[in-house]
């Protein structure tokens, strides 16, 4: 199919992009890497009146070290995340997960900010942002604001972004010493959106338990979701099987063509148990 016709504008700055969006109204879309948006256009699932190309806004690109955090520009490409030394050093969870995002060609164009703004329920980067307690920097007609990951992902393709609001940066705190991460996903083919995935951060060890835990599942609900029951069990020092047994307690899980709801719950539990087993094996080995 061919997309329906639309106007096209290219913004030189974030401010200009926001101003253009305000002029054009609710039916305008920001165009970042285009890897998701153009597909929607070509299926005529979305028929925007205008695309505002933010692809050339240099200030939105790149990874910077700030006080206790990395600040990732929204236009940073997946491939740049994968190649970044800073990310590898400070955010190994992201470094591991990024390789599961689509295929190389798509990672060359797709952007970190696009992934976060799109908020696909099965996408890796939103899950990592949630597990790492990221803060989203937004710019709207009324100026900038910040939203914590916990308040950002609201539902199926639904975020705290207001119409016309631009995600400019994502600030991710560098985990404290003693913290560790876990990541796993099950996809039928390499690079596909996951049937079920897990991104997690565990705080430093306290006895059998953990200081804190942020356990995030993706691909099983309407968005990346934390599992309060699993987090509580891990902090309390429960055995991996017990933590896994309550992995999806209280979560609204939805099935899809590849896995029914019960299968997704099963997968979430298996992924969590395996990652917890792996971490405890590795920690016991040292």
């Amino acid at each position: 199919m061919k997309s329906s016709s639309f106007a096209y504008r290219r913004a030189a700055t974030a401010e200009e992009a926001v101003a253009l969006a305000r002029e054009a109204g609710e039916d305008a879309r920001f165009l970042a890497g285009g890897q998701s948006l153009l597909a929607a256009l070509n299926f005529r699932l979305d028929e925007p009146c205008m695309l505002i190309d933010i692809g050339r806004i240099g200030a939105l690109r790149g990874i910077r070290r700030v006080e206790g955090a990395l600040k990732i520009g929204a236009l940073t490409r997946h491939a740049e995340i994968a190649a970044s030394v800073e990310i590898a050093k400070h955010l190994p969870l992201v470094a591991q997960a990024i390789h599961e995002v689509a295929h190389p060609a798509i990672r060359n164009r797709g952007t970190f900010g696009g992934s976060i703004a799109l908020a696909d329920a099965a996408a890796e980067m939103p899950a990592c942002a949630l597990a790492l307690g990221a803060r989203m920097h937004l710019l709207g007609p009324d100026g900038p604001r910040r939203v914590a990951a916990d308040e950002f992902f609201l539902g199926l393709y639904e975020t705290a972004l207001e119409p016309g609001e631009l995600l400019t940066h994502v600030e991710i705190p560098i985990p404290p010493a003693g913290a560790c991460h876990g990541f796993a996903e099950l996809a039928r083919r390499r690079g596909d959106y996951a049937m079920a995935g897990l991104a997690m951060m565990l705080g430093p060890r306290t006895g059998a338990g953990r200081d804190w835990a942020r356990i995030v599942f993706f691909g099983i609900a309407d968005r990346a979701v934390r599992s309060p029951s699993a987090e509580a069990a891990i902090v309390a020092g429960a055995a991996p099987e017990e933590c896994a047994a309550c992995a999806t307690d209280g979560l609204d899980v939805f099935g899809d063509m590849n896995a029914a709801e019960s299968t997704k719950r099963h997968y979430a539990a298996v992924l969590l148990r395996r990652e917890l087993d792996r971490i405890s094996d590795e920690e016991n080995r040292v």
Partner: protein, 791 residues
């Protein structure tokens, strides 16, 4: 392996892995696919397709669409029917088969979601699609009949009210005393039910056509992405009511076919009709969404099968009951009966089998039409039989390889026939199995599986012995009244510069047809392959013939090429002998020269000879024809098909907690007769294996209960990708067919035929210690978990 060639000379190409001459052109981006072609005054078509699986069309209002910018015409089913007659997809030799007339665009009732209903022709595809959005169609939804078993119930709504049921065709076979075999003392009997999902071909280049009607000459040219130009020519002429010779079909580069592009499609036919009505070129290129909704689907079987071995392990009987769903029409002109027919014809074919019973029911349903796709019926027949073999081996405590050894048709037993009447010659099941077991190091692999099982790792080995129907004779379609040639023709001529021009009725789909034609001609003519120029795919130019399907290109078109080149060679030698005042037997052709047969001393270059014949005919001896051209056609006689055979093995690991299957090894030993180009044969086998694995593990057209196709995108319909695939090891056994001089059998479908069964058996071997069993394809992780009782 090394292939023996007949002549070990500078121009020996037969048997060599010559690179495809056309690959360079395609890699340079110089392909001439239909969508690359732009004709003057060309228009673009787009189709409004039925959103319902089954609905009455009450009203079509296209007034708003007609007045959209860029729109030239809007046609509905009735408009197209003014110039195009409907078609009926039955073959008379499949007796009792019935299917009502099918119009290009639905009239009155739409019978599958995706059936074309209205066509818009506009200055661009985008403008045509804009107009589609403005067309209003009022539908009265009818009860969709989707499940093929339910479709046969007496109370099921009828898809075609003029028929008394939704049954398209039924066939039964009974040979030998089946009941006695199953009841015999000491017999091991197993019974299994299998489900094979629907999948589809997913060609890289979608279906595409430009119809170019020239009223000045009353001539219609179809630029076509397809496999059988002459068949299409006949179909078009018949249904547009034109003399066949006024229809020209041109198929240049084709980006994959797999059997998808050999059928009559309403959207393509409507495009031809529109060009005739508008007297302008009209292009239609299916997009991916409509490919999923309108390209033929494949497989879709529900099967119950039983088999028995006696106390010695010898096969005594097989029984199979196959229901297959074909969508609302049997597809024209090949019919949708062949797939099921092959299933019941081929089940058990590799084995000595005394008694056999089969029932096939081919059923109408409100889904995309189903028809012949690569390896038609074979993967089903092989998976069922090989699945039963493994179950019988397990039940009787035998090694699966051992049970096959006991029962395979002996290599020295040919010619022979199966209970179904399939006639076999020149097969090598035993040699292939032994070579396979050797190649994969079966014993070591078995030991590794057993050892790992103790550690909770579940690996399995799956074996398949198989046949493939190739090089069909007229017994396939021609006898059934279809305009489908079983012969192919080749012509070859020498031009005045000494270059060789060949044309052939088989077509190039990316498989290397043109390479083998050049190889054969170059070798026989004793010229460098770079001086051979090949033309295929144009009904105005090439000899009349069948085209590419049923693994027949090399075996039939290749043999015709061989015979034609030999004839021209004789002509040249006779002419040269006359000129050189010697006898033809004293001469030979080598490196572009007529040479002395014994010493290979050059006597006269082909270019000099050609110039003398064409320019200075006065110098030729009296009575010598001034021509350097020959044509030959070839069909297979004496045998209805040339069977090939092979053996395959798959090695997998199943994660019982996730149901994920990891492919660890795949081996193929295939006997394609004389190998013309080993690289091309191996590519065919590998590609086929990957498609077979697709059917076994990934690919499925998923439908909702009410007949909505749920996964019509490349994101949701999973084709196997490079990351999931593995090295596929290939070896050959060579038993040339007696039906031709070249001895080449077919190679195009073997991989697809055997791979699904091999993978299924491997998965089941891995699952056996866990007490689980898979009998549904694709074997998705979730289905495996269900079989294991984990979810």
């Amino acid at each position: 392996m090394s292939v023996t060639t007949r002549y070990d000379r500078p121009n020996s190409y037969i048997g060599k892995s010559v690179p495809r001459p056309n690959a360079v052109r395609l890699l340079h981006g110089r392909g001439r696919y239909v969508d690359d072609k732009v004709l003057p005054r060309m228009l673009h078509a787009a189709f409004l397709r039925s959103p319902h699986a089954h609905a009455r069309i009450l009203r079509i209002d296209a007034a708003a669409a007609r007045s959209m910018p860029g729109v030239v015409a809007v046609f509905d089913g009735n408009d197209i029917a003014q110039v195009m007659t409907p078609w009926v997809g039955v073959l008379t030799h499949l007796s009792g088969m019935r299917s009502p007339p099918q119009p290009a665009l639905a009239r009155d009732v739409a019978r599958w979601q995706g059936e074309p209903v209205v066509m818009v022709v506009a200055h661009s595809r985008a403008a045509a699609e804009d107009a589609l959005e403005r067309i209003e169609v009022e539908y009265e939804p009818l009860v969709p009949v989707c499940d093929m078993q339910a479709a046969l119930a007496p109370e099921a709504p009828r898809i075609h009210p003029e028929l008394d049921s939704n049954l398209c065709w039924e066939r039964k076979i009974e040979v030998g005393d089946v009941d006695a075999a199953f009841a015999a003392q000491g017999a091991t009997v197993v019974e299994r039910s299998f489900t094979f999902g629907r999948h589809t071909g997913v060609t890289l280049e979608p279906r595409a056509v430009i119809a170019d009607y020239d009223p000045a000459e009353d001539r219609l040219t179809m630029h076509y992405s397809g496999q059988a130009p002459h068949m299409m020519q006949a179909v078009i002429a018949r249904h547009l009511n034109m003399p066949e010779a006024r229809v020209r079909v041109v198929a240049q580069d084709v980006g994959g076919s797999f059997g998808i592009k050999i059928h009559t499609y309403g959207d393509e036919m409507a495009t031809l009709a529109a060009s005739k009505l508008l007297r302008r070129p009209v292009k239609f290129v299916a997009d991916r969404l409509e490919s999923f909704q309108s390209d033929i689907h494949a497989r879709d079987h529900r099967i119950t099968a039983r088999a028995a071995i006696d106390g010695e392990g010898r096969l005594t009987a097989v029984e199979i009951d196959d229901i297959t769903g074909i969508g609302p029409y049997s597809v024209y002109p090949r019919s949708s009966g062949i797939e099921g027919n092959q299933v019941i014809n081929l089940t058990g074919a590799p084995y000595d089998l005394p008694a056999y019973r089969a029932r096939l029911r081919v059923v109408f349903q409100n889904k995309v039409p189903m028809c012949q796709y690569r390896a038609v019926g074979h993967p089903i027949a092989m998976a069922v039989m090989e699945g039963l073999m493994d179950e019988m081996a397990a039940a009787s405590g035998r090694d699966p390889a051992e049970l096959r050894r006991l029962n395979l048709r002996a290599d020295d037993s040919y010619p022979s026939a199966s209970p179904q009447g399939m006639r076999f010659a020149d097969l090598s099941h035993q040699a292939c199995l032994e070579k396979l077991l050797d190649l994969m190091d079966y014993k070591t692999l078995r030991a590794e599986c057993d050892r790992l099982r103790q550690q909770g790792v579940y690996r399995g080995i799956g074996l398949v012995s198989m046949v493939e129907v190739t090089n069909p004779s007229p017994m396939f379609y021609g006898v059934g009244g279809a305009p489908i040639a079983a012969q192919d023709g080749a012509s070859v001529r020498l031009d005045a510069s000494g270059a060789v021009h060949v044309s052939n009725s088989i077509t190039e789909q990316g498989q290397g047809t043109e390479a083998i034609l050049a190889q054969i001609a170059a070798e026989v003519m004793g010229v460098d392959i770079s001086t051979v120029h090949v033309v295929t795919g144009d009904t105005a130019v090439v000899p009349y013939g069948g085209g590419t399907w049923a693994s027949r290109g090399a075996g039939i078109g290749g043999e015709a090429m061989y015979q034609a080149a030999r004839a021209l060679r004789q002509q040249i030698l006779a002419t040269a002998a006359a000129i050189l005042q010697t006898r033809p037997e004293k001469l030979d052709l080598c490196e572009g020269q007529v040479v002395d047969a014994d010493s290979l001393e050059p006597r006269i270059p082909l270019s000099d000879l050609a110039r003398m014949v064409y320019y200075r005919g006065n110098e030729l001896p009296e009575g010598l024809q001034p021509e350097l051209i020959a044509s030959r056609h070839f069909k297979v006689s004496d045998y209805p098909f040339v069977f090939t055979n092979g053996a395959m093995a798959s090695y997998v690991e199943v994660d019982p907690e996730t149901g994920m299957v990891k492919l660890l090894g795949h081996w193929v030993v295939e006997d394609v007769g004389t190998i013309l180009n080993e690289k091309l044969v191996d590519e065919q086998i590998r590609g086929g294996v990957v498609q077979g694995i697709g059917g076994a593990l990934f690919e499925e057209c998923l439908y909702s209960q009410d007949g909505q196709l749920l996964n019509a995108t490349m994101a949701d319909y999973l084709v196997p990708m490079a990351s999931e695939m593995l090295d596929i090891h290939i070896a050959h056994v060579v038993t040339p067919t007696r039906t031709s001089e070249l001895g080449a059998k077919g190679a195009g479908e073997a991989g697809t035929a055997g791979a699904p069964g091999a993978v299924m058996n491997a998965v089941n071997d891995a699952l056996r210690p866990l007490g689980a069993h898979m009998a549904q394809m694709p074997m998705t992780p979730e289905r495996i978990l269900r079989a294991l009782g984990r979810v």
